[in-house]
Symmetry: C2
């Protein structure tokens, strides 16, 4: 490549350093820019660098950069990021670099920080590189930089950085796969290994999937018993429904406890991500940020709120009304077709399916259209943090999908009050899901093997020469991980079927359980082999989904009470015992309110965090308070004696020692925290 000196690359000396993240620049990258970027990545912290290790990939003029980090950089960044780690006394405390030898396992970096954590740390370090005195990106004079702007965001925005992704570790992945998505293995998933390889929110999802599937067991047994032993009497049905309603609350509360244990042992529970970097697409007029007092893009919160309440919510309502109108048209069309069919019978049998097909197409179209609109809207709302963006997008799409999935069922149950139709619809939906899932499931391994064979063919020829860089390029060619939304949505709909219409179709739970056993393996397979490895930030819980599932729990009380009150069995019973419909309704409403109250009390009575976790956290808090008190007392001992002597009691002008010593600043910080 000629004139420029190749930056010293530490990883060339030692072969053992594992590249953590790959950066793919644009194809025709200006070499001045690449050189500048590598310098900035490798420079020391004091001059604004990231102190990372960079390898320019295949050769110097390629568009690939492999990034890794030395042990001390990783550990120091772990402190800045605020990771919690296991201390020698068995409690989880925020990692401190100075004190690192007192943390368990801290001498072996590959065990101490998981692969996902190391990659996350590198990501954060990259995001934190700020422009120092560059006025523009070297090599691209049109791409201006303001002082303190995050370089990495800027490179992405100006499309100079094509993409970047964490790298797989074939060896670990292979071992993990055997224990995780192999069909020979029927034990529980290796959640902790998933956490260390993929990171917080992925492990959280799989743990939730497993927990949810297991928790369906009692409902499945009860439901199957109701059907098989044909205990289809009114009292059994009511018993089953009430059990189901209480169950949904208990399960979500137990999950909260379980997830808090997980996040405590992972050290993600107490992490504070408040001062995250803004998202890449965060815009704002340059102004004084009221929190940091820095001159940077700033967007006031009230304008975001205005946008949400005055535009996003009305747009959601508009789309909902389209969707409901579509449903109305569908039911009308179906009725029309049926009458037409019964009048001129025989000839147009397939036309019977036309409304259903049209409606399905319409709903699918609306779903994708709305998802695009929601993405544009949430982008336009201009959230500062990635997490806040994700939450708002999730809520928007979630509400719409929920209505699309359940509107027809609610229409059948509440308006038509046709329980037989509801039962048929539910059964067809569940069986359809099953079949589609099994199909996809058969397809995925097939596709995977095809790709593998291609890859293997490609690989075999080049294996000896440049094996690593080729594997990495293969990874780059995979599509990027689309996020957990669709997986959670699937669970959410399942939970809706189980909870909302349990009394109508008690077999739901067992069908879903069977489905989920394969679902776990399929999702795992996809994540391991079909997508690029994602950057996953540490997660302390399942976020908005917890609320969404709890909401379903409350809705289920309303729907189940209503469905039971209009069931033919209850109507028969009332006719026998001379109970007027009005009284039935009063009873229904009374029981509904009582059940809601019980659910709320249960949710309060079951603590969200198990006692032992609470005790450990309080113990650490207590210790730190004691340490602080001790330190203050030590610091004050000398000068307080001095002061007592000096003090004149009521003049109020006691001279305070005001030397700006480092101890003084330290104490101020201690108080602020």
């Amino acid at each position: 490549m000629g004139s420029w000196t190749r930056p010293s690359c530490k990883c060339c000396i030692s072969k053992a350093v594992q590249p953590l993240v790959a950066l793919e620049l644009i194809e025709d990258i200006n070499m001045e820019t690449k050189r500048w970027l590598m310098t900035r990545l490798q420079a020391e912290k004091i001059v604004g660098g990231a102190e990372l290790m960079v390898h320019p990939g295949e050769d110097d003029d390629g568009n690939m950069l492999l990034v890794s980090a030395s042990q001390h950089v990783l550990l120091r960044a772990a402190e800045v990021v605020g990771l919690y780690k296991l201390y020698k006394d068995g409690s989880m405390i925020a990692f401190s670099y100075r004190d690192s030898r007192n943390f368990q396992n801290s001498d072996n970096i590959n065990e101490f920080l998981t692969l996902a954590e190391r990659q996350f740390i590198v990501l954060r370090t990259l995001e934190n590189i700020k422009a120092v005195d560059e006025k523009y990106i070297p090599g691209y004079p049109t791409e201006t930089l303001y002082p303190g702007e995050a370089i990495f965001n800027r490179l992405q925005k100006s499309k100079i950085l094509h993409t970047f992704y964490p790298l797989h570790d074939e060896q670990i992945l292979c071992k993990l796969g055997a224990r995780w998505h192999s069909y020979r293995n029927l034990s529980l998933q290796p959640i902790d290994s998933i956490y260390s390889y993929f990171g917080g929110s992925v492990a959280m999802y799989f743990s939730f999937l497993e927990f949810f599937t297991c928790s369906l067991m009692p409902i499945a047994v009860f439901g199957t018993a109701v059907v098989l032993l044909s205990m289809d009497t009114i009292d059994k049905c009511i018993l089953f429904s009430v059990f189901n309603m209480i169950w949904s609350t208990v399960v979500m509360e137990l999950w909260k406890r379980h997830s808090s244990v997980l996040s405590y042992t992972w050290g993600t529970m107490q992490m504070n991500s408040q001062f995250e970097e803004p998202r890449v697409d965060y815009k704002g007029s340059m102004g004084i940020n009221p929190i940091t007092h820095r001159y940077q893009p700033y967007y006031p919160a009230w304008r975001r709120k205005l946008k949400i309440w005055c535009v996003s919510v009305p747009v959601l309502c508009l789309f909902l009304s389209f969707s409901l109108f579509g449903m109305y048209v569908f039911f009308r069309m179906e009725a029309l077709v049926k009458t037409y069919y019964s009048e001129n019978d025989g000839c147009w049998a397939c036309a019977l399916y036309l409304p259903s097909i049209l409606h399905t197409l319409y709903v699918t179209g609306m779903n994708s259209l709305y998802k695009m609109v929601a993405e544009v809207l949430t982008e336009w709302e201009n959230h500062r943090l990635e997490s806040s963006y994700q939450n708002h997008l999730t809520i928007k799409v979630l509400v719409f999908r929920f209505v699309n999935c359940f509107a027809a069922l609610f229409y059948i149950s509440l308006y038509l009050q046709d329980l037989e139709l509801l039962r048929k619809k539910l059964a067809s939906l569940l069986v359809l899901t099953q079949i589609i899932n099994q199909l996809i499931e058969a397809l995925v391994p097939y596709l995977y093997k095809t790709i593998m064979r291609k890859g293997a063919g490609l690989k075999k020829t080049t294996m000896e020469n440049t094996p690593d860089i080729d594997k990495i390029k293969l990874q780059g060619e995979m599509s990027s991980f689309p996020g957990m939304f669709d997986e959670y949505m699937e669970l959410f709909v399942q939970f809706g079927y189980v909870s909302l219409f349990s009394c109508i179709y008690p077999l739901t739970a067992i069908l879903i359980m069977v489905n989920n056993v394969t679902e776990i393996r399929m999702d795992a397979m996809k994540l391991c082999h079909l997508f690029r490895k994602p950057f996953i930030s540490p997660a302390a819980n399942i976020g908005v989904w917890q609320t969404a599932f709890e909401m379903i729990g409350f809705l289920s009380v309303i729907s189940n009470c209503f469905l039971i009150s209009i069931s033919p069995q209850v109507e028969g019973y009332c006719a026998e015992n001379n109970i007027t419909p009005k009284n039935v309704l009063i009873w229904t409403v009374g029981i509904e309110h009582a059940l809601l109250a019980i659910k709320i009390i249960l949710a309060f009575a079951i603590p969200d965090v198990p006692q032992w976790v609470k005790l450990r956290i309080e113990r650490v808090e207590y210790q730190s308070l004691q340490a602080l008190k001790h330190k203050l007392a030590e610091a004050n001992k000398d000068d307080s004696k001095e002061m007592v002597a000096k003090e004149t009691l009521s003049d109020g002008t006691t001279g305070f020692n005001s030397t700006e010593s480092s101890l003084y600043t330290s104490k101020k910080q201690l108080n602020l925290l």
Copy 2:
């Protein structure tokens, strides 16, 4: 008093020191004990003392001790207690003694710390005096002490300390009274002055009382208009009710915002009282506390929970059933008496009131009995902290009182469905409250004046000789402040009348407003002149009452929807338009659920903390994080350079500097906090 040397009493030298707290020991106090107590109060921190100033009152062998504290002791304790104060840049941050000159007003202790705060600090300091090497209380060999036991708690338990109370400041009190409870003054209350004189929870109560009264304005205007302009039509009534239901949520949310502003400016919002001292009556077998790892009385949380759920809740239910049974008997008796009266008319007119009188007596009796039982139960539940004890007691009594107050009204409305009777009952309850309140209100100043005259007569003769100690003794003779429970309960019942039955009797709000204008002045008068000054801990909000008021808001939706659906106007309308009762009920339930949903959404949509407060808090958090990062970077600069040189890249055994310097410990603490 003879042989023992009088401890040096700094306040005798300087007359300007104001005594803050009075301790009253038992009459025949052993002089050895008194001497020991005074020594411990005055001794330096290093030898386990409190560094307070003590004056032995009238003369050495009296049973009175006056306690005060010097400026530096107050300021240092303010740091330990964790008070938040106004910093020079206008934000509220945790007070730091070392940094005190950068806090606004810190040169004048009487302005910097309010009277209530100073007294609270002295209380905390007293409670924190621990036994060092005493095996028993000197002078009382039977009263053993364990090492580290809080002496003050022990003295109270063994009844050696008769009582202790903070002292009034006549001058400030006089000024405060003129601006507060004088009838000539119609402006708003001087809440900040109340806060500085009485302290957090008192000021919070009066602020809430005022806020609640003001917020009744729209309801009062609307309600009066409905009655006066006889817009008693169905649509107006429904409109009024819906407005009322939304109003109750908005008011409680606005109050949350208002109270968070108050607590932010008072510096109580972010105070952490987690490591409070245990209550005086906290019992437990000696064991290792899992949090502090100290050998001290410890009572496991699960046993407390077991007691609550297995005894306290069933006892509450038992009492509730007694109460409901009493109500049932009352209604039966009333019906009997009425039939009897109509059969043999005229002769026993006054017997008509007999059931009411008996029932009132029964309810009053049950109320006091249950309060006693609740106190015993809560005591027996053995709560570690005073705040937790108070909360549990409040919830218990609150639920019982609520049922007692509203059961009859619910019976009339839900079961009898007799709206005319309900209206009469409500009117009589409200008017009765008015009359009783006005009576008491006339009585209170009268009583106060009588006491004053007596006191003045007594005072005049001794004014010249020992004015201060006499005034203090007079304060000690007053009854102690009974707490806010009854005051809040009164507001709670008012809120219930306004919210739950608004559609029946729209005049409720205006009657309550008139009542509260006098109520404020009466409560203020009582607090200033009838009771001993209470120790008030800093309060960030109104605690469980917030939840209780919000619950009423939700109940109000249920009751109002039901009441409207059974009103004769609606029935008439339905009869005209041929709507079946079943459909009316379905509509009612639908609207009820929609209103509940709107209330929940409103409660989420209105932020609990105003934006400016949130920004300021985040600004301080950001600053402290930056300070921490800066400090860490400074500390690491030297040794990181060293390390880069030393580091061998992949062996993973980089030597960490592990000198146990003070900086090292300080950094560990920084992370723990």
